[in-house]
């Protein structure tokens, strides 16, 4: 083989691969970018033909207007309260449970764990129908408590399952060493295992928070009154019968994704690292 042939092919391949990757990234990012640039337009720039990539007069006016149009602040607060409370309960309980499943053998633990895994897979629509009935009869519709109970149903199993995986990866010798040094089992858990598993713990909690923040089905059915409505449900209500105020909609949407995007910009690389090193081996 001539040297010249060998030298050209890898360069073509590299360029092709880079180009393809850029196309993928463009495809992934453009709609989000488009949402943002629409959110800073006045109406005439929204409906201009041809559409402008970037508005001629960028403005934050849509953001102020949409806050007047809908109680976005209330939706925001409600979502925050429900997500944080649910996780605040599910994380400690889940961590305890995960540790128990990781370090102790029970009769039928395989079955229980299988069931917990299976709960990750239930369609929310399947469980929302009985939830509606039960919460209605307990007068817990349109309440934080009702929502938190419902959200726990998917947060707790998820956190338990993920943390068990992380705890399994920590050798038992560490627990035993701590207990030989005089710690009780609980102290070994709190003082030794938890600190070591902090990255996994953090990733799991962030993941769970994101899932809760974005959740739709329970929010749709169980919180229909405007003062308890959540972001994921409240923002689509801006879509009226006829023409939609696109810039307002996009502004609202962008505000809704701001917490996840901010979290992601700081912690995304840990999440990706966790994913790509097989944290979800199942």
């Amino acid at each position: 083989m001539e040297k010249s042939k060998l030298n050209l092919k890898p360069i073509f391949l590299r360029t092709f691969k880079t180009l393809l990757l850029l196309i993928f990234i463009f495809f992934a990012i453009f709609p989000v970018f488009w949402m943002f640039t629409t959110s800073i337009r006045l109406n005439r720039d929204v409906f201009s033909i041809p559409p402008l990539l970037w508005p001629s007069h960028p403005t934050l006016e849509p953001y102020f207007e949409v806050i007047k149009e809908r109680p976005i602040g209330t939706y925001f607060l409600n979502t925050l309260i429900v997500a944080i409370t649910t996780i605040s309960f599910s994380a400690p309980v889940g961590a305890l449970g995960a540790y128990g499943f990781s370090r102790f053998k029970f009769k039928g633990s395989g079955l229980i764990l299988g069931f917990i895994l299976a709960t990750q897979m239930f369609p929310y629509v399947v469980i929302v129908v009985p939830y509606f009935q039960v919460l209605a009869s307990l007068k817990l519709l349109d309440t934080y408590q009702g929502l938190i109970i419902a959200y726990t149903s998917f947060c707790l199993p998820f956190i338990t399952w993920m943390l068990k995986g992380f705890f399994d990866a920590i050798p038992r010798e560490l627990d035993e060493a701590a207990m030989i040094d005089g710690c009780s089992r609980i102290q070994a858990f709190i003082r030794v295992i938890l600190p070591i598993s902090l990255p996994g713990l953090a990733a799991t909690i962030i993941f769970a928070f994101l899932v809760a923040w974005n959740h739709y089905v329970f929010a749709l059915v169980l919180a229909q009154s405007p003062d308890k409505m959540l972001l994921s449900v409240g923002i689509p209500t801006l879509m009226g019968q006829f023409a939609f105020p696109w810039n307002l909609l996009m502004a609202a949407g962008f505000m809704a994704i701001l917490p996840p995007i901010i979290m992601y910009s700081f912690l995304g690389k840990y999440l990706v690292k966790g994913l790509t090193t097989g944290a979800m081996k199942g």
Binding site: P123, V221, M250, I257, K269
Partner: protein
């Protein structure tokens, strides 16, 4: 585990099990029981399998089933094709790639209902960017109502679902790729294998476990997905995008027939289990080779 710790274990898993039983197991059983009653808001009349017979005899169910299958299988299939390509592109651990991996996952960060709003704008027939670009480059001659035209609605919904999901699947597959020992590639190259052969005989077999897990998760997540379609089209136009989860919502909360909705839910659950079993059994039987 130490001998004097027999009951300590229960202390650890107790709260978790009790909570899950209350917030998950109990509603599920309740839902199952509900499916045997007929109601006008309050469930009062026991009808045995009546709800189920009504559903199975209703062409709406079969239509929704077909739409659900088309939606799920197309989306998942495309997830894996695009995800696999993405994973292969991101496989070497350069700095560019580690940044790219984080950026490309952004669609997955955005909640489904916001994704729907985002794409509704892109799909807008008169002012949306997609129609503008497509007509400009001559792909189409006039504006398409992506979500309003029954011929295109399902396709459009699939596109949005694929957009949201392929990066996540891509990264899962990437995890599998990274675990493949370099030595296998070297051996294959020494033996004179070309890229396609390497992919077929080294890469894919090594990815079997990851693919099974990812496939199971994706099938379930896609089949149960409701937010996306509900905000994009509410199941319309007509019944063009009315998957079973949308039917359940419609039956339970627009027609207010909770017993019937519960029966639908049980059926959806059964369908899901069938699919998951097919995937898992398939992977086990292959392992025996």
């Amino acid at each position: 585990m130490f001998h004097n710790e027999r009951y300590l274990g229960y202390f650890f898993i107790g709260p978790t099990l009790i909570t899950i039983t209350l917030v998950m197991v109990f509603p599920l059983i309740y839902g199952f029981v509900m499916s045997f009653f007929e109601d006008e808001v309050i469930l009062t009349q026991f009808v045995g399998f009546g709800n189920y017979f009504e559903i199975i005899n209703n062409p709406k169910f079969w239509n929704s089933l077909m739409i659900t299958l088309i939606f799920t299988l197309s989306s998942v299939g495309l997830h894996f094709v695009l995800g696999m390509i993405l994973a292969l592109l991101l496989n070497d651990n350069s700095i560019v790639n580690s940044v790219a991996r984080v950026i490309v996952l952004i669609p997955w960060m955005v909640g489904e209902s916001i994704v729907a709003i985002m794409w509704k704008w892109v799909f807008d027939p008169s002012f949306g960017i997609l129609n503008y670009v497509f007509t400009k480059i001559g792909l189409i001659s006039q504006n398409i109502a992506w979500l309003g035209d029954p011929r295109f609605a399902l396709l459009s919904v699939i596109i949005v679902r694929v957009w949201r999901g392929f990066p996540f699947i891509g990264l899962l597959l990437l995890a599998g790729l990274q675990a493949i020992p370099e030595s296998q590639y070297e051996a294959a190259t020494v033996d004179g294998a070309n890229s396609w052969q390497i992919f077929r005989f080294i890469t894919l077999p090594n990815l079997k476990h990851v693919i099974t897990v990812a496939l199971t998760l994706d099938l379930i997540w896609t089949m149960r997905s409701m937010a996306l379609i509900n905000v994009l089209t509410e199941g319309g136009p007509g019944n063009a995008t009315k998957t079973i989860p949308i039917r359940i919502y419609e039956e339970g909360f627009q027609f207010v027939k909770l017993g019937s909705a519960a029966a639908y839910s049980v059926l959806l659950f059964v369908i899901l289990i069938v699919f998951v079993s097919i995937v898992i059994l398939n992977s086990f039987s292959k392992k025996q080779d």
